[in-house]
């Protein structure tokens, strides 16, 4: 059950990438913006590689608490980074 929900979640999120590319192209009209889901994802993959490989929150790598902390860090970055970009765009 957990495994099935996991795959359904991955598929749902992957299928969100294309509409986001479409919207971002309409918003900005430029290809680098339309492809931003791809390069932002590359940045997050690097961050997560570091989180999972280098930063050991607990001895047991499958620990649920460690996963929650990593998810929290991802969520925080996902909210804070666009806010900083918005602030730079609006106030510069």
């Amino acid at each position: 059950m957990k495994h099935h929900l996991f795959i359904a979640g991955i598929i749902a999120m992957l299928s969100m990438i294309f509409p986001l590319c479409f919207v971002l192209y309409l918003v900005g009209g430029e290809m680098w913006l339309a492809l931003s889901p791809l390069w932002i994802m590359a940045i997050f993959i690097v961050i997560n590689l570091l989180l999972f490989k280098k930063v050991n929150f607990y001895d047991d790598k499958d620990d649920t608490k460690a996963l929650i902390i990593r998810a929290f860090i991802n969520l925080s970055l996902a909210i804070v980074i666009p806010m900083i970009i918005y602030a730079i765009v609006v106030f510069s």
Partner: protein
Amino acid sequence: MLQKAQLKWMSLMSLAATIISLMVFLFMFDEYREIVAKLCVIGIMVFGINALIFIVYGDKLKAAYHGVLAIVLMTVSCLTAMGIAIMLMQGLIIFHPRYDQSAYQALKNNFEFSEVTIMREDGSKLTGWLKYNTKDTPNSLIIYFGDSSEDASGTCYDFMHSGVWRYFSDYNFLMIDYPGYGLSDGTPSDDSIYAMAEEVYDYACNLDVVDDTSITIMGYGLGSGAATYIASMRTVNGLVLIAPFDQGISLYNQQLDMFKGLMQFFTLYKFNNTKYASLCRISPLILASFDDEEIDYQYAVNLNDAFPNAPAMYSFHEIKHNAYFQQVEILEKIDHYLEEIER
């Protein structure tokens, strides 16, 4: 090395973080909040359907076919999500509603302009501005339908500062905001704009200051759709089309060249100008530029060919889409056409 379970979680978190960050970014702009909500609905729907399919069929399949099911569902989900997104968000391609509040305040304090509110049968309202030139006697009227990013207040204010009014000094001038634009209620679409155009025309005919036998319709860009429609449905004295287009699909492809073949069926806003042009009984003035970056010159030619009574079409070079009213030669052509039809 990362374990398989860690890689799975890493990819899920990266994907989720990417989508959340882009959603947060779009959410901070007022005009895109609705889109974020729609995208969330699409995501939840796709997740729900996939979860249901996996829960029902996942356990029955052998491990080898599990991956095949995932790939099939992923392909179908991506195509479905893209299709729904195009259906829900194509308004972004065609319509760019705006409201210039500072221009509205400036016009409020100008005695030459009168704020117009048209109450509709469903209780919603259409708003705009009427510029009087002679208040005492019935006089000719120009009804102006603006482009996709024009609102009545902003346009009237811009015309005031760019000296455009000089060319329309013998006319009353009426511009009403499309549904969803300015202070007008509603949502912009081809049908709502056509209905609005008819209401505006009927409203204008009943005004004391307007000679209803001398109404000229002017349409610019997107407004050429409403202008052509009303010219085909009502009696008008003249029709001026600036940077017009032949049909809605052309506007889509101008922005994003992908609405061809089967993709045409995804388009909601048809704006079939060629059909309405063929019903017009008057000879319009058409002004188009080879260097218009938003509406291709060929679209104007296609529309020109659809009018049964030979239109007067003038082509220009080096005029960008938003610069038509800044060109003296354009304004002089309109002025000359207006003089001709008044004779």
